[in-house]
Symmetry: C2
Subunit: 317 residues, 2 copies
């Protein structure tokens, strides 16, 4: 059941609802919503199955896009689902302090999320079941050793019951991105949320090469807002702004400005396994660059990715 | 006399030849040829003025483009001008070891070139007059504090007679790039050399962000060859490959490959004061990326610059 061509979506949903109900029984379940397709789909699927027995939290880690927490919670409120926003920014930035290695960043975020923030919420909630939006591509990439995804402990042979004290239910694990989108649509996710482009687990920290600070996250957040606004009508699979650590020479008001660079990536892809840079009109690229240069402090240079995956990956970090 | 529109080229050349002869008189002059438009033009101008009384050397610093020394010397041999190639690779790489700051790099190259290598050659040659291809744009940028050019001591108020023990003659100092091209053409520089795109003083070390090693120079040299071959018919003002220091995630043979990134810049400009990224066809960008990814070791990502100068500069370092 690898592609949606082979999949009866409604049957898939009914089976998963049944499975979730039979697993949780009269217990309480909990899940964390990031606002991405995967976690949004698993949230609505879980609420269809469990109603109020599923508690959904949105952890504000300081690494999300502009106004993300409020927007996502608002969308789910309209769907009759209450989302609790947890402010954990201080904990995440403290954990990330001084770390530049991408693997260590992911590890710090994972540990802070699971052990500290979400672990504490789960323990206090009394929930024994954790709903996760893991998809098949996460498993592929972890097995290949490309990236450690933070939601695949089970597949790596780590017992989540032992490590974090709860059970993981992963109803989307047979699907790839295209399948998840179809399931989300069928479950009634609004256009607005359904059409959100994929966003990585480590959020904007995956869009910053090198050290993660409040200032650098704010820089890449501003650029992300511009890129997402200007490319939202392209129908591309994914688009992003990446803040580089390398310094490049620039010039402002006739004076040297040793500044920073934003890389834009925009991908055509069906399922994220392979991807091609979108052939954006040069006018669009120029407008993007000019807007970023004028609105984002310290940015003197903007590039556009022109390499395919593989050998590139979708994200840079 | 800022633009060539106002300039009678032949009159300019005659005046400069007269000036050089009157300055050098029965002395000996020397100059270093890099193969760029500026140094090539000053070389042929100097030989028209002085003949064998001008000694021209090409310092092989290990930072030049593929086969550059041999090609340039061959072109001048055809013009009846003998060029002496000096192998100073060891001295330059030693001087650059451990340096990552762009200003310190320039300084190391400047000092190695002037004090050690070229200084020694000049002292041994008995020449008291140094011909330099400094142009007006170099002066503008130095005064603005954007970049330290290595050939503008005089304008910075440093007495070259005191510092390095010789006199500098800069016959092109009133001209910008477009003017130099016209003078070079009139002086009979062959199409092949005349059409060479501008190349920075610190050569490929200016195309490497971060540490300069033999290996990293070899990487950017390979990418430079590809970029120059594939873009030579674009009529762009300048094009280049830049090796970034930032590491980006890649994937080869299904496995994670934490690799490197090449940035391509291609500029439309008249005189380098302002410049726009050339609107290359997307097919060309794709071909460039695929060729670099397949032929240059360790490169998993390629980007194209889309920001104008200003606030960018032409070179990244």
């Amino acid at each position: 059941m690898n592609t949606m061509q082979e999949l009866d979506i409604k049957k898939f949903i009914d089976e998963k609802i049944k499975l979730i109900r039979e697993t949780v029984m009269d217990g309480i379940a909990i899940n964390a919503l990031s606002g991405g397709i995967d976690s949004s789909t698993v949230t609505i699927l879980g609420h269809r199955a469990l109603g109020d027995k599923l508690k959904t939290v949105f952890v504000e880690n300081g690494l999300m896009r502009e106004k993300e927490a409020i927007q996502v919670a608002g969308i789910f409120k309209d769907l009759g689902v209450n989302i609790e926003i947890i402010d954990a920014r201080e904990e995440f930035f403290s954990a990330l302090k001084g770390i530049t290695d991408p693997e260590e960043k992911r590890e710090a975020i994972t540990q802070t999320f699971y052990k500290n923030v979400f672990g504490r919420i789960v323990r206090e909630s009394g929930a024994k079941f954790l709903l996760q939006g893991t998809i098949l591509t996460d498993i592929d990439e972890t097995i290949a050793g490309i990236k450690r995804q933070h939601n695949v402990f089970e597949q790596l042979g780590i017992d989540p019951l032992e490590v974090f004290g709860y059970n993981i239910i992963e109803p989307l694990i047979e699907l790839r991105k295209d399948g998840v989108r179809k399931v989300g649509k069928t479950l009634g996710l609004p256009h607005e949320l359904f059409d959100r482009i994929p966003f990585p687990g480590p959020a904007l920290s995956a869009r910053v090469i090198g050290a993660v600070t409040r200032e650098r996250i704010e820089t890449v957040r501003k650029a992300t807002t511009i890129v997402e606004q200007m490319l939202k009508d392209t129908n591309a699979f994914q688009y992003m702004a990446i803040l580089h650590e390398d310094r490049v020479t620039g010039m402002r008001n006739g004076k040297r400005d040793f500044g920073q660079q934003i890389e834009i990536r925009c991908w055509d892809s069906v399922d994220a396994r392979t991807a091609e840079p979108t052939q954006l009109p040069f006018e669009t690229l120029k407008k993007l660059a000019l807007k970023i240069i004028s609105d984002v402090p310290c940015i003197v240079s903007v590039t556009y990715n022109i390499a395919p995956k593989p050998p590139s990956t979708i994200e840079a970090v």
